[in-house]
């Protein structure tokens, strides 16, 4: 499902004394099946953009096309239910999407709400909770009586249980332990590849954006100021600093090594694995000359 934002502007509490403009003229194209990361400093408008992707927020100016549904300012739209079924959002704070009595019921709610029989919803929920590393004993607990990372896992399971076509992730790894972080990011990537899931990831981890995304957009003060491949985005450190962002840790490290060697590697290494490979290749060459 293609998603296109056209000249989207958004103001919170419009026409009140508390009006707060959060987006200015944002254009963004997210083709079906792509993995789009959105990065940007605190308050730059990332979560506001995300909430437009399933029409939780409607633009105050401009429009969004989600598949074949067009969402515009001040226009009622009957197709939003369909959109919400296909576009699953994991919110920045998991508490904002948990509500049911037990963890199991919470994960089952979405599918059942869209007509999946209880039995099937239950087996999906159990399978997903396993996949997300939730201990079995939490299934009958209230989702609010969990640790922060456990809540995050329940919220993710609830969204995946809907089998969405588009997966929208707002800082999905905040609060996860390092292993959970890696396993769950790999799980999203696997779904993206195997099921062709269109994936939109908002993250403060330059490392995750570099590793997983096909394309990266930079938000800065409510505007989308730059869009490109990870290679393009991370080749210019100065520009990132202007947007109050940084290079991924392994690119920073690559630069330190290059400075020490007085020599550059042929490409920007976006992962540690790639960096180790390139260094090994270079050393082999050095030995041979």
């Amino acid at each position: 499902m293609d998603i296109t934002l056209q000249q989207v502007s958004y103001a919170y509490a419009k026409n009140t004394p508390f009006e707060k403009r959060a987006l200015f003229d944002v254009n963004l194209d997210i083709p079906s099946g792509s993995y789009q990361a959105i990065i940007g400093h605190t308050g730059s408008g990332k979560s506001t953009v995300l909430q437009h992707l399933n029409a939780l927020l409607k633009p105050t100016e401009g429009s969004i096309k989600i598949g074949d549904v067009l969402v515009k300012a001040d226009q009622k739209n009957k197709h939003l239910r369909k959109v919400r079924q296909k576009v699953g959002i994991v919110f920045q704070f998991p508490e904002h999407q948990l509500f049911d009595e037990t963890v199991l019921k919470d994960i089952m709610f979405g599918p059942m709400n869209f007509g999946v029989p209880a039995e099937e919803a239950k087996s999906r929920a159990i399978e997903l909770s396993r996949l997300l590393g939730l201990p079995e004993e939490v299934l009958e607990k209230s989702p609010f009586d969990l640790s922060g990372g456990q809540m995050r896992r329940v919220a993710i399971a609830g969204v995946l249980a809907m089998n969405p076509e588009v997966l929208v992730l707002d800082e999905p790894t905040a609060g996860l332990d390092p292993r959970g972080r890696k396993e769950i990011m790999d799980l999203f990537y696997r779904l993206h590849q195997e099921k062709g899931l269109t994936t939109v990831l908002v993250t403060h981890s330059m490392e995750d954006a570099a590793r997983y995304a096909d394309r990266i957009a930079i938000m800065h003060d409510g505007k989308c100021v730059l869009e490109g491949t990870p290679q393009e985005i991370f080749e210019n450190e100065e520009r990132l600093l202007d947007y109050r962002l940084e290079l991924p840790q392994c690119v920073k490290f690559q630069k330190k090594v290059e400075q020490m060697m007085g020599k550059k590697l042929p490409t920007i290494c976006l992962t540690e694995e790639k960096l180790a490979e390139e260094l090994a290749r270079l050393m082999k060459e050095e030995r041979e000359v």
Partner: protein
């Protein structure tokens, strides 16, 4: 030796007392933290870290064992006095906002502590400025972005000028620069005062900055030591759901590629130096 500031003795806490088969959230944990120390608490999701934080600031009381703060056992009587000297940032800042505006929220605890009005106004402004939120003084805390909420929560904690700062994943939603800013605020406060910092974190690079690390596993204290002592356990940590610092991970990958290194490195600088001396400076 510095004086003791927080001490847990054989502390056990279970949320659901009636269910006997459930493992305690915190199980027979003892440790002592000294004044002026920076201690990081790490461990997998559900290992009991936030429960420890709640036990240390008296939101929860243990079923077994004692929590001693400033040398006194924490109880209902000295709870408020203790809290007035402990700035805490919760894992989800939404759970701690009480004021209708950012400045009211930051002022709240100061008002409760009877800080004179003028001093209060000044402290509130200064702390909000420190976290770069001055242009949001009159915004409603719940209507901020995720990272802005965390900044406000941090401002509230430092405005108290506490003796202990207790941070529960307080920077999890900040951008890399924001994280760096908060760390430098903390560093600066430690230079100016004898502040004790307890920081719960999944960010192992941040844990590396601490004087000591307490590692939790399934409710139990698994290990305590300097960052070097903890991270030299290597694979053992990975098996328990943690990770190793960046430089150690890169070292591993380099070794897998047949690049030899003379030692185990925690910092990037050490690793770069090793690469230089063993491979390039020949």
């Amino acid at each position: 030796m510095k004086s003791e500031i927080i001490s847990l003795q054989e502390v056990t806490f279970t949320y659901t007392e009636e269910e006997k088969n459930i493992r305690p959230a915190v199980d027979n944990v003892s440790f002592t933290i000294y004044e002026g120390e920076w201690v990081a608490i790490v461990g997998h999701n559900g290992s009991g870290k936030s429960t420890l934080a709640r036990l240390m600031n008296g939101l929860l009381f243990p079923q077994k064992g004692t929590v001693r703060i400033f040398g006194e056992t924490l109880n209902e009587q000295n709870l408020w006095e203790t809290r007035s000297q402990m700035g805490m940032v919760f894992q989800n800042p939404d759970n701690q906002f009480v004021g209708a505006t950012v400045q009211d929220d930051v002022a709240f605890a100061l008002e409760n502590n009877g800080i004179p009005f003028e001093e209060m106004v000044e402290r509130v402004q200064q702390s909000i400025e420190k976290v770069n939120m001055s242009s949001f003084m009159n915004s409603e805390p719940h209507h901020l972005s995720g990272g802005q909420k965390q900044r406000v929560a941090i401002a509230g904690a430092i405005a108290l000028q506490p003796r202990i700062l207790l941070l529960d994943e307080a920077t999890s939603m900040l951008d890399p620069q924001g994280r760096e800013e908060v760390l430098s605020i903390v560093r600066k406060l430690r230079e100016e005062t004898d502040l004790t910092v307890i920081s719960i974190t999944h960010d192992l690079e941040e844990a590396l900055l601490a004087d000591r690390i307490i590692m939790m596993n399934q409710g139990e204290k698994y290990a305590v030591g300097s960052p070097e002592e903890i991270f030299l356990r290597g694979q053992e940590l990975v098996d328990l759901g943690l990770d190793l610092p960046f430089a150690m991970n890169v070292s591993r990958l380099l070794r897998d590629q047949g690049i030899e290194l003379v030692a185990e490195h925690m910092s990037e600088e050490e690793l770069v130096n090793d690469l230089w001396t063993s491979h390039f400076n020949k």
